[in-house]
């Protein structure tokens, strides 16, 4: 039981990372590869936030005037993950625009057929 309590979030985060990596390595359709990239980034963000968790801590916001900082969760990984999520959506938008352009030029989205056609 304590094993599950300690490692549940880590197993979930790395499970997502491995599913995303497997999709990027094995699948041939370009849009499937980009979906795998999105799942991979979600897994990494979940891992970063679960590293910064302190047990029985609260959110790092002083909502009432007299609240004291007893046990608050680490705020630094949350700031970094906020940046990472926005950069992830920027990369996905650019990758999808390149996929649409490739489809216009070659007519297929299969990576092996594009590699064969070359010039």
């Amino acid at each position: 039981m304590t094993f599950l309590q300690d490692y549940a979030y880590y197993i979930g985060a790395f499970g997502l990372v491995f599913v995303g990596l497997f999709t990027m390595l094995v699948k041939r359709n370009l849009i499937k590869v980009i979906i795998g990239l999105s799942i991979l980034e979600t897994g990494v963000n979940l891992f970063l936030i679960s590293v910064g968790y302190i047990s029985k801590g609260t959110a790092p916001i002083f909502s009432k005037a007299g609240l004291e900082a007893e046990r608050m969760v680490d705020p630094v990984p949350q700031a970094l993950v906020l940046t990472a999520i926005v950069i992830g959506v920027a990369v996905l938008a650019l990758a999808l625009s390149l996929a649409v352009r490739l489809y216009h030029h070659y007519g297929v989205l299969d990576l092996r057929k594009i590699k064969e056609q070359r010039w």
Binding site: A8, T23, I35, L46, V86, L92, L96, L109
Partner: protein, 79 residues
Amino acid sequence: MIVIVCALILLMLAAAIAALLFKDLINAVIASCMVSLIAAILFYLLQAPDVAMAEASIGAALVSAIFIIAIRRTQRNEE
């Protein structure tokens, strides 16, 4: 409490494997949107409300919309 967390994590992994295995690309996008939503719930349970709001609004809504618009430009099935 730990039972709810384990059930959510199992559901998230099942949705990710479903996104890997679906042949219709729109179904795969909807499965990845579900992964993002359950990740937003897990962020809230880890006491990070800012990140949960960002993941729900950016990851679940806008990324799925951009994917569906791009799939409409190209082909819908995988092969």
